[in-house]
Amino acid sequence: MIRVNHYGPDATRGVVHACLAALGAAMGEAGLTVDLEAARRAVTQAWR
């Protein structure tokens, strides 16, 4: 189980993107194939 907090000042696009980068890197390091570009697009879309 992984939890991403969005507490107050952390509920921002920047923090979500930072989570994406960190989680994507960790999953890549674990040998998983991840689509960072699709995830970036999804985050951007959600913030429109």
Partner: protein, 334 residues
């Protein structure tokens, strides 16, 4: 943080100033002003009391004030705190009807209605609005309607929902609504607040078992603070925490509560979308978006991976992430 002056010749050091120390006393008037502003988070006409401790203090105070032998309590369990409430209720001598649902879902008003049908003696309901630990949120407005139909006293733990999603205790018929500032409000954890309806006050006052002359006592605050015109505090207030609460409420007032809630909703939706788009089997723990809490998003780690290891790696770059493992009993801090 400290500025320390050293007298080299004598070898004596003394701390001369620190932003957390040597503050002027917090007056009753200032305390009441902070309390009134914090009450604005609840949009309520009910009495609001600031309690001098983490939100578990008013939560336990509410249950020990309201429950006694003869009470039949419906305790809704949608996460770890429901279990704690059930233990307190039993400790008070109440008959407890536990209504537990899988933590990746929300309880429904129909399930609550069914519980009333099966146990018509239910006169107290405890519910957690949003569960930060498991990332789910419950439909309080619909549940409140059912509770009202049956005349039961309704206690809501709104610590993880306040500031993140709509919270309307008066409109929803919530008699005891507890909030804390440490989550969506972005404030301190050491003070909390509870709104109390008139009938809840009457219920607690009629309970001979309700704490009196006790740190857990809501009645003490009612009788000595509220009824006294908010002129004399019961004890020295948690000054730093109260000032931090004031600062956090001021920040929310500047941004606007609606804007704050919108940020949380978008952050949660973006994180859910991120997980699905990232691929490799990462997915939201709470399947239905309507059941997902805006305050925190929980994710299922890809099959064959260790969530703790993934988070440990990710945390090195981003401390907002956390991990929990219910099997190991490692729950995150509230």
């Amino acid at each position: 943080m400290s500025e320390v002056s050293s007298d080299v010749s004598s070898g004596v050091s003394s701390t001369v100033t620190h932003p957390f120390l040597d503050l002027a006393p917090l007056s009753a008037q200032h305390f009441a002003a902070i309390e009134a502003r914090a009450a604005g988070m609840l949009a309520t006409e009910q009495d609001v009391v600031i309690m001098q401790g983490e939100a578990l203090l008013p939560l336990e105070g509410c249950i020990r004030g309201a429950a006694r032998p003869g009470t039949t309590a419906l305790n809704v369990i949608t996460g770890p705190y429901g279990q704690t409430f059930g233990n307190w209720l039993r400790d008070c001598g109440a008959t407890v009807v536990d209504l537990a649902v899988p933590f990746h879902t929300a309880v429904t008003a129909e399930q609550v209605r069914q519980a009333f049908a099966e146990h018509p003696g239910i006169d107290f309901v405890s519910l957690v609005h949003a569960e930060a630990a498991t990332g789910n949120t419950n439909p309080v407005a619909e549940i409140g309607e059912v509770v009202r139909e049956h005349g039961a006293l309704f206690m809501l733990d709104a610590v993880a929902s306040v500031g993140a999603e709509p919270l309307l205790p008066d409109a929803w018929g919530v008699d005891l609504c507890v909030i804390g500032a440490q989550k969506a409000m972005g404030g301190p954890a050491g003070v909390s607040a509870v709104s109390v309806s008139e009938r809840a006050w009457q219920h607690i006052a009629a309970n001979p078992q309700a704490p009196r002359r006790s740190y857990l006592s809501l009645l003490d605050w009612k009788e000595r603070w509220i009824d006294g015109g908010r002129k004399a505090l019961l004890h020295a207030p948690a000054q730093l925490e109260m000032l931090a609460l004031e600062a956090c409420v001021e920040r929310i007032e500047t941004e606007g509560l609606d804007a704050l809630m919108a940020r949380h909703a978008t952050a949660a939706a973006a994180t859910r979308a991120l997980a699905l788009a990232l691929g490799a089997g990462l997915e939201p723990y709470v399947y239905e978006a309507r059941d997902a809490a805006p305050v925190a998003t929980t994710l299922r780690a890809p099959s064959g991976t260790d969530a703790s290891e993934l988070v440990a790696k990710a945390l090195a770059a981003d401390p907002v992430l956390s991990a929990w493992s219910p099997g190991a009993g490692r729950w995150p801090r509230r």
